[in-house]
């Protein structure tokens, strides 16, 4: 199972995350979970929504960037956040992602709100394979 941590010394005004996964799929799922925790307390989101997301990009890091950007976009367009995801990343030209998201609507009466991401940045951005595991570092503009 993947894990993530907040990097306190990077990005004074925003949120820097380091994410690790047992596999590429796990990296993407863990990143989605991390982003959700940045935005809300996941325990306060009733699981009422399921969505599918399909993306493609020329490189794995751009796919990762687009994945998190999509979650930020859905937060604003539909006012939904996703506490769980199942992701399948396929290597190729282009790289492809197929994901199934589970989450709920942001309810000001029930949802414990945290920060409101504006965008994914390229600041100190990396996605890399380390042995059997994958690692990413990303700064989210708050």
């Amino acid at each position: 199972m993947g894990r993530f941590s907040v990097l306190e010394e990077i990005a004074v005004a925003d949120c820097a995350l380091e994410i690790e996964g047992d596999s590429l799929d796990d990296l993407f799922e863990t990143a989605a979970r991390a982003l959700c925790e940045v935005m809300v307390d996941p325990a306060t989101v009733a699981p009422t929504v399921e969505r599918s997301v399909d993306l493609s990009a020329g490189a794995v890091d751009l796919l990762f960037y687009d994945w998190l950007s999509e979650l930020i976009y859905l937060k604003d367009r539909d006012r939904e956040v996703f506490t769980e995801s199942r992701v399948r990343v396929t290597r190729g030209s282009p790289w492809r992602l197929a994901a199934r998201l589970q989450g709920g609507s942001i309810d000001p009466e029930r949802t414990a709100l945290r920060a409101d991401p504006k965008a994914v940045t390229f600041h100190q951005f990396l996605v890399e394979e380390k042995g059997q595991r994958w690692r990413a570092r990303v700064v989210i503009d708050i």
Binding site: E8, V12, A13, C15, D76, S105, I106, A115, F122
Partner: protein
């Protein structure tokens, strides 16, 4: 990196310090503020100095800290014919800016109703993650807003005609092109008009403290008569609409740069020649977002008037709730400046920096043309803000630019470790500052100790003569996302 003194509160990094620098980097700061700046400021301002078509110097204001591409507090001007436009020089929150309204109320009149006012404002101006605006806009109406800016709000009944006279660019910058805005950006922002946002965005009720008026004549010209007077300040931007436009074009420019033989050391400095189809497309979309931000602050102004009127039982005109001014601090604008004695059109990027045109400048509203453009500098929710005016010297020193705020000194994570949001709210209330926040952890992140000393920043602006101090303001109530 060698940083050498170049004047009182002025420092320079010469081009020899980094390969590719076309001009020096210039930082405006006291010795103390300079010593507090993170290394990223120096890296980023010298990276900006490498961009094609940059004129004279890459600048950083005294509230500078590191951002994405440009430092926050970064200002750079580029020739329109050979220079570039860079989304990183504007920021994700296009036309994040400030607005301040005066009232004819005193603290003594407002204090007994302050809780009611702040609760009503919290309800009338949605904030935080997932906030939804009160207007149900069609995509067609939204496209009109992109072109008309605050003027759309006034024509629809959400404001007074004279509000437009008290806004940078009269609340509508020329050159907006909805045709270069993605459907994704429209769908992201369509439901957010009239919302505050989160993070360091806020709506604040402030008073002029007893020692707060530094120049009485200038203060009166801004509509501020004396200590105890109540003002309302607003800090917010273009919301998801602007954020998506910035994301769209940052991504697109990364692919476009090689075509123009441009390479940058930092992906966040992705850019395109200003006159290229891509550069013009971004400028058109960016301006559309800027106009939506003016409309956002205008709609929120309307809600502020409704709330004050309802709670205090008087018409907003009778309450004297008029706009003093509205400034952008994340934009790129085509402006005419003098360069080596010649008048030249430049694309002036201000990222976390405010325009500060001096007396006599034609773009300054007639009401302020004798004194200079009002400048609004926001501090932390605990310490207060300041009003200044632009100067003639700013026009030649910094392309008519000045700082925008206090700048952060520590990360959000570090701030949350030092104080618990609930405790901070209690402490602030004990000190007479009421806060309604959509997120308690967000409050902790915005604690006063996380920001630089605003007085120190303002003092530099005054010493370098790029803005003149007029009024200091103290918060008494705050709405945060």
């Amino acid at each position: 990196m060698k940083v050498t003194p170049a004047g009182d509160c002025i420092w320079e990094i010469p081009p020899a310090e980094k390969p590719g620098m076309r001009v020096p980097a210039r930082i405006y700061a006291s010795e103390t503020l300079l010593s507090q700046m993170d290394q990223g400021v120096f890296e980023q301002v010298t990276n900006v100095a490498c961009l094609p078509g940059i004129v004279r110097a890459a600048l950083c204001m005294p509230d500078g800290h590191w951002g994405y591409g440009f430092p926050i507090g970064g200002v750079a001007a580029f020739r329109v014919d050979t220079g570039v436009i860079s989304p990183g020089g504007i920021g994700f929150d296009i036309n994040c800016g400030m607005r301040v309204l005066r009232t004819s109320l005193t603290e003594a009149e407002v204090r007994p109703r302050l809780r009611e006012l702040i609760d009503a404002l919290f309800s009338a101006v949605p904030s935080g993650v997932g906030a939804r605006g009160s207007l149900r806009l069609s995509a067609t109406a939204f496209r009109r807003i992109m072109v008309e800016g605050a003027g759309w709000c006034v024509s629809e009944g959400y404001g007074w005609r004279e509000d437009l006279d008290r806004m940078e660019g009269r609340g509508c910058l020329p050159g907006a092109d909805p045709g270069h805005v993605s459907e994704r950006a429209v769908s992201r922002g369509l439901q957010q008009l009239g919302t505050l946002g989160s993070g360091n965005h806020y709506l604040e009720i402030q008073v002029v403290p007893p020692e707060g008026i530094h120049e009485a004549g200038l203060a009166r010209a801004l509509g501020i008569e004396g200590a105890g007077q109540v003002l309302v300040m607003l800090h917010c931007g273009s919301r998801g609409f602007g954020h998506q436009i910035a994301t769209d074009y940052l991504r697109r420019f990364a692919e476009v740069m090689p075509r123009y033989g441009i390479s940058v050391v930092d992906r966040e400095l992705a850019c395109a020649p200003f006159r290229s189809p891509e550069g013009q497309a971004y400028f058109g979309a960016m301006t559309a977002a800027a106009n939506s931000a003016f409309a956002n602050r205008q709609l929120i102004t309307h809600r502020i008037r409704e709330v004050f009127s309802r709670v205090l039982g008087r018409d907003p005109h009778a309450l004297g709730l008029s706009v003093i001014y509205d400034v952008c601090h994340n934009t790129a604008k085509v402006e005419r400046h003098r360069v080596d004695g010649e008048s030249m059109e430049l694309v002036v990027h201000r990222k976390g920096a405010t325009r500060a045109f001096g007396p006599g400048a034609p773009d300054v509203p007639e009401a302020y043309r004798d004194i200079g453009q009002p400048v609004i500098i926001g501090g932390s929710m605990e310490t207060g803000s300041a009003l200044l005016v632009g100067t003639a010297h700013a026009m030649t020193e910094t392309w008519g630019s000045t700082a925008h705020g206090a700048g952060r000194t520590m990360s959000r994570a570090q701030a949350k470790k030092r104080v618990w949001g609930e405790r901070l709210l209690q402490d602030m209330e004990a000190r007479g500052i009421l806060v309604r926040a959509a997120s308690k952890s967000g409050v902790a992140e915005e604690a006063g100790f996380a920001y630089k000393d605003l007085d120190a920043v303002v003092d530099v602006l005054h010493r370098v003569d790029i803005s003149r101090k007029v009024v200091s303001l103290r918060p008494i109530a705050n709405v945060k996302g």
